[in-house]
Symmetry: C2
Subunit: 199 residues, 2 copies
DNA sequence: GTCTATAGAGGGATAGAC
DNA sequence: GTCTATCCCTCTATAGAC
């Protein structure tokens, strides 16, 4: 952490970008090296194997999400606003032409190490746990309309977003918008909540 | 087509299997060759480049689906039964530990040729077109409960299934079951329809 | 912590015999 | 239509200098 932004961080930034655009086996150390203006070996110094890089990458998604949830938790937002904020995060991916990191690991599942799978499963668990809690909270306060149990409801929402993000790539952003609208409708999230979440 | 099952077909079978398990760049001609007991070059004879193989692969998914829809169309099934049959197809993938072919291309989008993308987009279009028609039909006959316009409703269902299939890999089949139940609930598909579709 | 250099494996692809 | 043989490239990974 000598430089303003350490090489390790810059590697992870570049890797994340490539990861969500080309898939895990779709990018190489060379791609990262070229983008950073360093050599192949420099990256191996920070991440000895590509599996190490994969695990670190997914770990950082987990850290980012944890950081985001803690921040959101401190702002005293309503359940609807929290969900709207989450949808906003996903929308950003869509605009950037990226897909959900989970989808990448899922698709290449039998091509990645056990450690990578485990870290991805952990990320999925983090997302689900948080969303379940928010749905529960929203149900109790009657801010959100949650049909059935919260856990399956959360799973369905995550699946919708993951699939929608992918289809948007193939068939246009409108497909993701369709998913977004449906999620909001189902939960009864108003446009007022969206305003707040956007700020 | 000299042998009982031509090599070309056997190649596509093996490739489809690998494709849905390891992703597109996650398998090689070597994998297929080893599985078929032939040499690398034999596969290049049938599919000069890997992009050719990818396009042929997706083309076959399209053909299979077209064949399936025509068969289903001739059986005079209700709309609910048609949808139930489609869900059955997806469930089979789940049981086999596979994901939707579309998801694979979406994830590796920036790593495949334009021709592969186009064929995948075509498959997505086929699925959507068929499902929209069935939803429309079900709405008119009041067999299916379709909220809002049929097209976005179809898109959402396809996204749910694609995402659910992937998450099931990471977190267990129950996650796909959650998605299935939600899709059926939303459309108001009864268990009686499922019986017929299973046969 | 980054470099040069290189090993070693695997991948896509082709030529030419059979 | 399949084989052997081979080319060339890319990729992961390591050793050792700076």
């Amino acid at each position: 952490m000598s430089a303003a932004r350490s090489t390790r961080k810059r590697i992870l930034d570049a890797a994340a970008e490539l990861f969500q655009r080309r898939g895990f086996s779709g990018f190489s150390y060379q791609h990262i090296a070229a983008q950073l203006g360093v050599r192949n070996a420099a990256i191996h110094y920070h991440f000895p194997s590509k599996a190490d890089l994969g695990v670190a990458l997914l770990g950082r998604y987990r850290d980012s999400f944890r950081w985001w949830t803690e921040q959101v938790g401190r702002q005293g937002l309503s359940s609807a606003q929290k969900v709207a904020g989450f949808l906003e995060l996903e929308s950003r991916y869509c605009l950037e032409g990226k897909v959900c990191p989970l989808g990448v690991v899922c698709v290449e599942f039998e091509n990645v190490t056990e450690a990578v799978r485990a870290e991805a499963a952990g990320l999925a668990s983090d997302l689900e746990t948080w969303l379940v809690a928010v749905l529960e909270e929203g149900r109790r306060s009657q801010e959100l309309q949650v049909e059935g149990a919260s856990r399956p409801a959360a799973v369905v929402i995550l699946a919708q977003l993951q699939g929608g993000l992918q289809l948007a790539r193939l068939r246009g952003h409108r497909h993701f918008q369709d998913v977004l609208h449906r999620v909001r409708e189902n939960l009864g999230i108003s446009s007022a909540d969206l305003m707040v979440a956007a700020s």
